[in-house]
């Protein structure tokens, strides 16, 4: 080693220590450390929301381009997974099994800020927080997930706020509370599960929920019934596989009612109003209609509910420099709102943001895939797979003809794969 390089190294080590001290004093996260050791920082990216999309984007940005400083804003202290949460309702998994820490992201140099993003200042290029100072950005990634449209079902907000009618469609305390309600349901009690009109988060999710709760009823309260009030004209996803499972595994337990959108809830009488009748049940689980999460709502441009993006780089149609991924986006044709998809969006957006900040061309052949497992019982699962590719003529991520498909039949191997998939994707999202 020459004197010159030794000096440089020492100077670098000194700088490292100094910057470490500053970063340590300034925040919980480690942003800035790595980038000051290597080349000069080339840009600041703020990511709002640390779900399947946002946390993955933050990790892969740092993994692929350590010269970018990444700050990840998330109000929750821990990640709770929606996938597998139906098994918590059924009693075969605990909430602890689907609750994970965020600190695995620290080793990538992602700076975590546990605060709430309350506004995006497009002119100043800053994210305003509920408690902390505004965060400046060169590029912004917004991954807020969904919010519920309680106004669409008058009376439901009051029933929800009173803790009587839950959605449990964001995993967390409501998952635990709905499990308690199911446990408290007397043998012979009727449980009604209401599904909103598509599009909503996780198309097969409600039917998986019906399946595994039916198995719980079969074992613990065999005289109970589960009625699916579907706002859609038919089962939205994996129809044949679900129907066969219900008929063969849970005969007489599940009743499926299409075109049965709940349009009002009478909290006093505990009755759901449908178009043509009033429906009474001992326990309701109503999944309300959904829209882009609140922080992204000023960017909504499709059907008054979703954020329109271009699918090469997921940049908002309304705000250049602001990328939106995951369930909040207006989906490409046949693309479901799923954690798997959000995880894939995140990698495409990380590459696009790196391209923009380094002056490279966008990827002209991005691929987005999806493998969605659904449990039809504690031990058997089914899947749907999809491959979407950039179609330059249509300017969208179009399904590749001939690719993708469903399970031939429900089977035990896919239940094992589903659990392994969950572990692997959680590790891919959270470090």
């Amino acid at each position: 080693m020459t004197n010159m390089t030794l000096k440089t190294l020492q100077r670098r080590q000194f700088l490292t220590t100094l910057s470490t001290g500053l970063a340590g004093a300034a925040s919980l996260g480690l942003g800035g450390c790595a980038s000051l050791i290597g080349d000069k920082p080339i840009g600041r990216v703020v990511v709002i929301g640390a779900g399947f999309g946002g946390a993955t984007a933050a990790k892969y940005l740092r993994k692929w381009e350590p010269r970018i400083e990444v700050t990840l804003v998330e109000r929750r202290e821990r990640f709770v997974s929606c996938p597998i949460s139906n098994l918590v309702l059924a009693g075969s998994r605990r909430i602890e099994d689907i609750t994970l820490p965020y600190d695995g992201l620290d080793k990538y140099g992602v700076r975590r800020v546990h605060d709430e993003a309350v506004a995006i200042d497009l002119e100043k290029k800053q994210v305003r927080l509920a408690r902390g100072e505004p965060l400046p950005y060169d590029r912004l990634i917004v991954a807020p997930g969904i919010d519920f449209q309680y106004d669409a079902i008058p009376g439901l907000a009051a029933a929800h706020d009173a803790g009587r009618v839950l959605h449990a469609w964001k995993a967390g305390p409501e998952t635990v509370a709905l499990r308690r309600q199911l446990e408290a349901l007397p043998n012979g009690g009727v449980f009604a599960l209401s599904i909103p009109k598509a599009p909503y988060r996780c198309p097969p999710g409600p039917y998986e929920r019906a399946s595994v709760v039916a198995q719980y009823f079969q074992r613990a309260k065999p005289r109970s019934k589960l009625v699916i009030l579907d706002g859609n004209p038919d089962i939205v996803s994996k129809k044949g596989l679900f129907l066969k499972a219900w008929q063969e595994l849970y005969p007489g337990i599940i009743e499926y009612r299409p075109n049965s959108e709940v349009i009002e809830f009478d909290n006093r009488a505990h009755v759901a109003r449908l178009e043509t009748e009033d429906f009474k049940a001992d326990l309701f689980n109503i999944i309300p209609p959904q829209q882009a999460g609140r922080i992204a709502q000023p960017l909504i441009s499709v059907n008054n509910r979703w954020v329109g993006v271009e699918f090469q780089g997921f940049e908002s149609a309304k705000a250049p420099g602001v990328h939106v991924i995951g369930d909040a986006t207006a989906s490409a044709p046949a693309m479901p709102k799923s954690g798997f998809m959000a995880n894939n969006h995140a990698k495409a957006v990380a590459d696009a943001v790196i391209a923009r900040l380094t002056g490279q061309p966008l990827n002209d052949s991005p691929v987005i895939t999806n493998t969605c497992y659904s449990f039809v019982s504690e031990t058997e699962a089914v899947h749907v797979a999809l491959v979407h590719k950039w179609d330059a003529a249509q300017k969208t991520l179009a399904p590749v003809a001939g690719a993708g498909g469903l399970s031939a039949a429900r089977n035990a191997l896919e239940a094992t794969y589903a659990h392994t998939w969950a572990r692997n994707i959680w590790a891919d999202v959270l470090g």
Partner: protein, 118 residues
């Protein structure tokens, strides 16, 4: 940034000195942080879609086959057989492999073959 000071800055500071050093080393893995050309970025991004099931960089933690560090020819042959429907007992891979050209599958196989197993 003053308002982001954690509740116990003095305590955290000493821990962070260590953490930050290791973060710096790990944040720049040679195999993944160095793609510069568009073809390199493309294959890296395609391969990353596999990670959702097979684990980050193909390092699976359970029942799904790990693919990091396997022979490029072995991986390529498997993908082509999946694509052609010649692998018995395929669950999802025959449906995914059909989404890619043979050349894309070869590049993905070479990408995973070049990654360390652990």
């Amino acid at each position: 940034m003053n308002t982001l000071i954690p509740r116990q800055p003095a305590l955290l500071l000493s821990g962070l000195l260590l953490l930050c050093g290791s973060a710096a080393v790990q944040a720049q893995p040679a195999a993944t942080g160095t793609a510069t050309t568009l073809p390199e970025r493309q294959v890296r991004t395609w391969a990353a879609t596999c990670a959702a099931c097979h684990g980050t960089e193909g390092r699976d933690q359970g029942a799904i086959p790990a693919i990091a560090g396997r022979g490029a020819d072995t991986l390529y042959r498997a993908l082509i057989e999946f694509k052609g429907g010649q692998r018995p007992a395929a669950t999802v891979m025959h449906q995914h492999a059909k989404g890619y050209s043979d050349d894309e599958l070869r590049r993905i196989a070479q990408y995973f073959a070049a990654l360390p197993v652990r």
